[in-house]
Amino acid sequence: MITLKHETHRGWAWFRVLFAFAALLTWVPRGPHVVETYSSEGIPLLAGHVKITNLVIWSPTTAWLLYALLIASLLCVGAGRLRRIGLVGFVVSSCALMFAEGLNMKAYDRLLFWQAVMLFLSPGAGSGRTSGPPAARYAMLLVYCGLYGSTGWNKILGEPRWWSGLPLQYDFVHRQFGGLPLGVWLSDKAFLVAPMSWATLIWEGGFPFLIWFKRLAPIVLAVGAVFHLLILFTLDANTFSFVAVAAYPVLLNASQFDRFEDWVWSKIRRN
């Protein structure tokens, strides 16, 4: 039952740490190219959805300051210090940089944006110890319904050959996104890729409907974790898998996550 009963959801703390980790993994490698990509010393473009360069082009110093603010914000969020300020700092600085670049605001960048917003709105800004209404958790669920549902139904309605596995086979040898050893090996094995393709369509297309059933949610998310693990080893989607899985702890309800966490700790203690 979906209610606004207040909850203390320990998953927010895990989400916050995983978010900071995934965001650092995304942004630290961009460091060496800050000046070229985000400042007047590169190739400023009037491009993208928010054409910030119409108003301002960052100088190299400003670009570095924004980048420093972004990294410092993520370290604060990850360490649990000044969480709300850190989340605002991340959203402002990452948007300022990405809008200036104009062409590369990737799916995982947009997802990081939504994750930061929901962490900000969560009880205690991702403390995991504060009681509050689960509205931010529901909103995070809606984002994931949009994420998986949209891409799944775009495949189902827009490219019927996904049922044969052919698009996935060719994705595995894509010059940029493909080329990973497991993906290349799979690419000419239609009998293996076709079931993977069906599973992708059913899982992505079914996610917005199935995740709201309390008993099904853990299964849906377990399949999701395997799905992202396979993406990690077959497609070069940069940090998408890490970013996507980061919010999984809050896609379970509080009591489900408690049981999951207790189970994990008991396994760790036993070993």
Binding site: E7, L46, A47, L103, L142, F177, W185, S255
Partner: protein, 181 residues
């Protein structure tokens, strides 16, 4: 990374549920969630229309944050963009990758599909290429060839070429806001 104590169980005696949002605040919360759900549906609708659907035409470009179309289409070809400059009367490849090495998993900035779809985005890259060469003219060429399944090596065979744009390097290119390359 984090304060480890924050990742452990809070006081076990404290109940998971401690109250409920009620009244006007509850109504407002449900209303906000309802509109947020509608926004996700609108994002899906716009992604179906290739990001250029009726909603965008009606209200503006506000749906890109929830446009999640990923790996949806079938592409049997590799496509690259290459820059060339005139040297001794011949077109010679320009090493843009060395001059502007920043790249993403999707490639260099000029390899984004928007660049070969929108001529206005080709001009700044051509003007930027001019900064590093004495060539009087530079051009951008789109080359594509078929993918080969089952192997990492993807040799360029039967390459198709499409000339996208030629740029005269003496021509100033106005950059926003008022900056000139």
């Amino acid at each position: 990374m984090s304060d480890a104590s924050q990742l452990t169980r809070p006081n076990p005696s404290s109940p998971v549920t401690t109250g409920e949002t009620q009244g006007v605040r509850a109504w407002l919360t449900w209303l906000a969630l309802f509109f947020f759900a509608l926004y996700q549906v609108a994002g899906f609708s716009e992604s179906r229309a290739g990001g250029n659907g009726p909603l965008r035409a009606l209200t503006g470009d506000y749906y890109w944050p929830v446009n999640w179309s990923m790996f949806t289409g079938l592409s049997k070809t590799h496509t690259i963009m290459e820059f060339e400059g005139v040297e001794n009367g011949e077109w010679v490849r320009l090493p843009m990758e060395e001059w502007y090495p920043a790249h993403w998993e999707s490639g260099y900035r000029w390899e984004r599909p928007w660049v070969y779809k929108w001529p206005s985005l080709q001009r700044p890259f051509l003007a930027a290429a001019c900064q590093h060469t004495d060539a009087p003219y530079v051009r951008i060429v789109q080359r594509s060839w078929n993918k080969v399944l089952g192997q990492a090596e993807q040799p360029r065979k039967k390459v198709r070429e499409k000339l996208l744009r030629v740029w005269e390097c003496d021509r100033p290119y106005p950059m926003p806001p008022g900056r000139v390359f």
